[in-house]
Amino acid sequence: MRVARWVPPATLALALIGLGASIYLTIAHFTSPDVLACSSSGTINCSLVTTSAQSAFLGMPVAVLGLVWFVVMTLLCLPAAWRSENRFVHLARLAGTIAGVGFALWLVYAELFIIGAICEWCTVAHLAAFGLFAIAVVTAPDLLAREE
């Protein structure tokens, strides 16, 4: 085992939690934001966030981008991927989580300072992304060094 035993199941669980939230947000995007079990007034307002101008990036719904990202991360966090001898797998996981948490930071900024509301389900996805990022960067030195 190249990483601590808890790492593969923990990251897989985080990726699946994020994937679930992304699926839910994507369904809401293509049906109605009112299907989200979330407050629709005040600071917690999923509808306001998911229908804001910031809910799309380069014309792509952010919910769909999140869904795609979590699908990729789920694959990269499978136990087999953690055991992989292929350096590219570990680099891809590291790069993916860095990109993901960077985008999540932008979305959190948009929620707090542009939209002025917080989406609970988006926050679940952001926390999952941050968890994956934290584990990926902490394990990366050992994983990548062994390949030297």
């Binding site: 109605s32 005040g42 509808s47 804001s52 948490v101 959190v108 707090l112 002025g116």
Partner: protein
């Protein structure tokens, strides 16, 4: 095993090593010049190893490679921990700034209590300076003999709209400003009109849904039929339905059921907005509310001017009560500019 012949470089390095031993004793990691396994040499108890005796200081070959890799890994771990801490710090700073933000920095549809108060208490001096509504708004004077529009024994002002509708969003501003001169709203909340592809998307406004209004002079009946994302919200009462069906027609308002639809008792009605939603584009609720007291603001001129027109109509409905509002010269002037039946 045959002994390999040393190259010139190896011979030179060996000679240099012998010279070094002659002057400085055995090299690190050796006893009397004999190579010892790494870590085998022990310093005397209580003695601090000298720099020369510390293996890390002058390691050679595979040991140095392992130590170098270890150092690189250690610095990578520090970098990783730093990255995680940096992200946590950035989020922490954003949350603190959000929690301590100024009132005007909230999002488009979020209204602070202060902002709601600014809308419901625009100073009379500002309204006077702004004066009559700007052109382009054409309320209809209902013909004499139109049945009274009342509720609870008081003349009624009615608004029918929807939260997604940007024109309703624009129209609610002057309605709240005007109605607040005759009574008191409670439960008003900020929101925005519908998201794209709706025209004038996310226009900041109040919603009448969930609010109540009390007045000694009139009743206010409102309905928001859909949410900002087009989900059903409120159903019209039978009275609202009857008035909407009777007067919001091509013959009366010039529209076939368009919203917003407003009736000032049995005196005036219109379908559409008296304020261009375009002037509110990109403004948050608190930003709009914050300029309503500034007579030089183009937003205040549009909203307060329209409010003065609505106030003039309501004054006709209430028999020019209350007098402190209705006897003001600028309201009298606005009344004279209203369409005749």
């Amino acid at each position: 095993m045959p002994k390999k012949k040393k190259s010139a470089g190896q011979r030179q390095r060996a000679a240099a090593r012998r010279q070094h031993q002659d002057h400085a004793g055995p090299p690190p990691g050796t006893e009397s010049g004999t190579a010892a396994p790494e870590g085998a040499r022990r310093a005397p108890a209580g003695a601090r190893p000298s720099a020369r005796s510390r293996p890390a200081a002058r390691g050679k070959g595979p040991a140095r490679g392992r130590r170098g890799a270890g150092r690189r890994r250690s610095s990578s771990r520090s970098l990783s921990s730093g990255a995680v801490i940096a992200v946590v710090a950035v989020v922490g700073v954003m949350v603190i700034l959000f929690a301590t933000r100024k009132a005007g920095d909230t999002g488009a549809g979020n209204a602070t209590a202060k902002a709601i108060q600014q809308v419901t208490s625009v100073p009379a001096s500002t309204l006077e300076q702004v004066g009559a509504p700007s052109g382009g708004w054409a309320p209809v004077r209902l013909p004499a003999g139109t049945p009274a529009v009342e509720a609870s024994g008081k003349p009624m002002v009615m608004y029918i709209g929807a939260e997604y509708c940007p024109y309703c969003a624009a129209e609610r501003w002057p309605m709240v400003v005007a109605l607040s001169r005759f009574g008191t709203f409670s439960g008003l909340k900020g929101t925005t009109s519908g998201p794209p592809p709706e025209v004038f998307p996310n226009t900041a406004t109040v919603t009448f849904y969930g609010s109540s209004y009390t007045s000694d002079y009139l009743t206010f009946s409102s309905a928001e039929t859909e949410t900002r994302t087009n989900a059903p919200l409120q159903t019209l009462t039978s009275q609202q339905q009857q008035l909407f069906g009777t007067y919001n027609t091509q013959q009366v308002t010039g529209s076939n059921g368009a919203i917003p639809f407003v009736m000032i008792g049995n005196l005036y009605t219109w379908a559409g907005t008296s304020v261009d939603p375009g002037i509110l584009k990109g403004k948050s609720f608190n930003q709009i509310a914050g300029v309503l007291a500034d007579p030089n603001s183009s937003i205040a001129k549009a909203i307060d001017g329209s409010a003065n027109g609505i106030t003039a109509m309501i004054c006709q409905l209430t028999g020019n009560q209350p007098t402190d509002v209705c006897s003001a010269p600028y309201i009298q002037q606005a009344q004279s500019a209203l369409p005749a039946s």
